[in-house]
């Protein structure tokens, strides 16, 4: 957020500053909370997980001998009797990106120690995420109803079903984990745990509003991954 002040150390902008931070003692990322640094590195690792999934998907799609189904037909939804391609996915994407917006605002109000606004916005994010997962369940059940299975697919290559359920499932799992934590954090904000310094259930250590930002990083990442899945799976 605001530039940290480090005693006895001058923070400089640009590459020179980066080099000096790296060469200094104690910390490499000046003023960055441990948990925040951890989340960034975890997300880097998770990026590799999703990259492996998406690259495998590309390779699988390229090497299967059966024709790949047309996504705009498979994912079309009938609205008022007209099949609209990607209608549901467009709504899902909109909801998820909106929830990223509310998350960003929650972080802002968290640092301003505005308990009420922060709590409501975290709750709104959680509900947005829950809506997304609900719509995904709807999408899955629609496809299953139409006969798409992980091992077969009436529209073409069997790998379509396999990759679809695996990748959206893995992403949906990430969203669900995020939703659970969002609800927990919303409770913690409303209950004032970050102001009273109440110790956590598991770690028995004190919490801080920075946790909202750390969860926010995760949430934005899940959102970003969805954009890539959207581009590679639904638009290609």
């Amino acid at each position: 957020m605001s530039d940290p002040k480090i005693e006895g150390f001058e923070l400089k902008p640009g590459f020179k500053g980066m080099a000096e931070d790296t060469a200094s003692d104690q910390t490499m990322f000046k003023g960055v909370h441990w948990g925040k640094a951890m989340m960034w590195i975890f997300l880097l690792s998770d990026t590799f997980v999703f990259s492996c999934f998406l690259i495998s998907y590309m390779k699988g799609r390229a090497s299967t001998p059966v024709e790949w189904p047309n996504p705009s037909e498979v994912f079309a939804l009938n609205a008022f009797g007209v099949p609209v391609p990607l209608l549901l996915i467009a709504i899902m994407t909109f909801v998820l990106i909106t929830s990223s917006g509310t998350m960003a605002l929650a972080v802002k109000y968290g640092y301003e120690k505005n308990k009420k606004m922060c709590g409501w916005l975290v709750l709104a994010t959680a509900i947005g995420g829950l809506t997304f997962v609900g719509m995904q369940v709807f999408e899955w059940s629609k496809l299953i109803h139409e006969g798409v299975r992980p091992w077969e697919n009436p529209f073409g290559a069997a790998q379509f079903g396999s990759f679809f359920f695996m990748i959206t499932g893995f992403h949906g799992f990430h969203v669900s984990i995020g939703v659970i934590f969002l609800f927990i954090y919303a409770y913690k904000v409303f209950a004032g745990h970050y102001e009273s310094g109440k110790k956590g259930w598991f770690t028995k250590l004190k919490g801080d509003y920075v946790e909202i930002e750390i969860l926010g990083l995760y949430w934005h990442f899940v959102d970003l991954v969805w954009v890539f899945i959207f581009a590679f799976f639904y638009l290609w």
Partner: protein, 613 residues
Amino acid sequence: MSEEYDNNKTSYQAQSSEVLGGASGTTPSDMDYVRPAEIPEQELYHAHSFIEKWVFCQDAKVIGVQYFLTAVFTGVVGLILSWLMRLQLGFPGLAGFMTAEHYYQFVTMHGMIMVVYFLTALFLGGFGNYLIPLMVGARDMVFPYVNMLSFWMFFVAVAVLMASFFVPGGPTGSGWTLYPPQAILEGTPGSGAGILLMLISLSLFVIGFTMGGLNYLITVLQARTRGMTLMRLPLTIWGIFTATVLAMLAFPALLVSSIMMTLDKVLGTSFFMPTIIKAGEVLEYGGGSPILFQHLFWFFGHPEVYIVALPAFGIVSDLISVHARKNIFGYRMMVWAIVGIGALSFFVWAHHMYVSGMNPWFGFFFATTTLIIAVPTAMKVYNWILTLWRGNIRINTVMLWCLGFIVTFVNGGITGIFLGNVSVDVPLSDTYFVVAHFHMVMGIAPLMVIMGAIYHWFPLVAGRMLDEKLGKWHFWATFLGAYSIYFPMHYLGFIGVPRRYFEMYDSPYMTSGVGLNEFISLAAFLVGAAQFILIYNIIKTLKTGKPAGKNPWQANSLEWFTSTVPPEHGNFGDRLPVVHRWAYDYSVPGAKEDFIPQTTPPSEVANTEVEKT
């Protein structure tokens, strides 16, 4: 020894009071100035019960020992499996129960256990947990709770892996690379529950490791003590740190391939399964790509080699420097070589796949990158030798293991140049030459470092010195025995003996190979048995060993300057140490003693020719 110990103690206390004065501004000495702490004091959760102290413990040192013991347990299982394999190869039919299926299962489990559950867990989980907080001058890992979860996830992974010995059909027998389609098809031993448990265990291992790895990285990056810059870190930390970065980026590929193969097995998807005709019948699989698995597996598998090797490089650099009483030659070069090897290791994976039928141009590219790795690796070997050159070498057990490592690593490295070239690799592929190569370079060589490290750091962990005489017996039996095993294997490879074969029967190789095989097997029994000398030594030392005191090796790095030996929870007592120099100021001309600890302020050594770091 005891006299030096006392000297050390007083000089250490003098320093800390001086720092105290400096910080409060009464006697500011420009020369010794270290800027104030920017990280608040770490809040630690102290254990309240036996279970919290020894079972679900949040202290990185206890977690390190837990990792170490669990890894050693799996290592002993792997050792016994290798005995059974050598028994079959050297003396076919002697072990009556041994069928071809058993043999494949033992090969598979031996490989997977030794590479993942033994070496990786031992170096990163064991040495990493124990040494990182101590060497960077932190009270503990930055997320002790997550660290505890990491160990228990690893423990569950090991339990699941071991459970596969007891399920119907036994453990998987598909070779440690688990290549589909055969790994999950009927006819391969353990293609039912065995392979499933293996894949689940690997996934759990990756999840557990990720939790530990985040701790290691953030502790090194964000929790160093005052004065500890990255370029003052001991090379051990650089090795473990870089290996952890590799692991964080390479294990995702293993996780993804495990998940995909699990789905192939359980749900009948065809990610890796092509159309297969079995006994005239077309199976339900079809349209997948087995080569995709190989790419994913080796994108993990090659960095994995360096996940094991880089901590070994780092640790051996420190051991050589301490026991040759000389600064490490080319410290910065060593750091950049570690980082360079780590980066390059992501661009060489397909050299494991020269015979998989991929495009030959691909092989050309990967042969080039593979041979480029020889450059930073050779730099490191030269630097180790130049560190020894004209050093005040103490030929103790630790140094013997280090010398053994250098020789073994050069041997294994040179055969790597053979195998890195496509045209030489093709005829040698899948022969005992490959077995000999990787056992030399990533089996025996890192193991030598582990042994050296045990003899070096045991006095810190247990407070007692291991017996030198037994240690030397242990070393010579292991060293000579290991060479008796693997040198003849190179020859077996040249005459074309294929690996992974249960029995050679009357094949033409066997005219000259039978005697050799028996010899190798006998040597393998000997080397395995020699490891129990170490276990005996440890038990004996714990009971009657000579007390080590503080800093028995006259080393410089921070782990020897803890408030108590063995270090307590919180490591450094009331006050964290302040670092003024790198860890390699040995035999500095003009200095009173032949070592200057990292905590010695410059004003105390003003008249010496100490390096500026």
